[in-house]
Homo-oligomer: 140 residues x 3
């Protein structure tokens, strides 16, 4: 199965917190970074997710925001630093490629206005911001 989802980041489950309906899953990425996914509790049961499970974190590029540096005091759980490698600009949107230390690449689809306002160009240091409810998990 090939997915249109551009961002597929390998890691290992380090924690599972179950609510009645939703669950938050902590994932230690192979790059060392830790991220959080908010998925349904049912998905956690179906996939048998537990500490030690090998997963891939899946994030649609339209769900990735970019900041020019780390952001403090924000509810967004996931902040992944990297460097812009390429920008493709359309009439309304732009696709920004970000290389992540430890290997791997993220794609962010943001407005072309945001690219201009942030002055993004290849070489720019950025932090990718991803809300935990936008992170899906694949068991591998």
């Amino acid at each position: 199965m090939s997915l249109s989802i551009r961002n597929q980041i390998p890691g290992t489950v380090v924690s599972v917190t179950r609510g009645e309906v939703m669950a938050t899953v902590g994932v230690s990425l192979d790059s060392g970074q830790e991220i959080t996914a908010a998925v349904t509790r049912e998905a956690v049961e179906d996939l048998g997710l537990a500490e030690g499970s090998a997963v891939r974190a899946l994030v649609k590029s339209t769900e990735v925001a970019l900041a020019t540096g780390p952001v403090e005091g924000v509810s967004i759980r996931n902040q992944i630093p990297g460097t812009v490698t390429d920008i493709a600009t359309g009439g309304a949107m732009a696709g920004v490629k970000v290389s992540v230390p430890g290997g791997g690449e993220l794609t962010a689809a943001i407005t072309k206005d945001a690219v201009a306002d942030l002055g993004l160009a290849p070489g720019s240091s950025v932090v990718a911001l991803i809300k935990s409810s936008e992170v899906a998990l694949a068991a591998v």
Copy 2:
């Protein structure tokens, strides 16, 4: 690969419109309904999507909104009618199962306040609303 993504709806690509960065893909669901996915143009190329491609439309349950009837004059491209079959309520969120004509089931994760305000219960007629940028595609 098992996915945490609750909603995986089989269909066939009926149109692909390419922009510089993004592309919209029309998918005719096996249930007869047509939906639109907004994905990166790169994903369309990588998956080789074209008219006739068999795909599954993937939608995280947190991306599914519910209305008590069809909604006119809204930018949200995808409206799938169905009937509520089950509701699980937590402290903040609720998981609502919706059976769809022609078979299949959708899961929506909405606030428990929304369930109360809409008076949702098993048997309620609803329309699932899904923004096209929240639909990912899997080639099958």
Copy 3:
């Protein structure tokens, strides 16, 4: 017709920028704030959106992040300041109500961990962050 979408903010279209497949729509909210929605170009045509169109911006609560103050250098186009009025906490997620100057209320569904880390409580000043691709529009 009732929608589960918690956040429905009235405003007027002030700009439309068309790409090949996507479009960005600037909306001046009745509260004076300006926000941006990224929707399909097709939706813009179908709704006949143009400068002066009366709309409601629709945002699912799972798409609203919160910060403890304004965030600079971020691609997220929409930042709406307000004050926390209520927090409902579940096992994994929390629903946070935010009153907005000029009237109106926003709901954000964020992780309960984020509520704890940010020290949110009724009375806290916050800024709601909403990526433009998460904003849908309804013509009114």
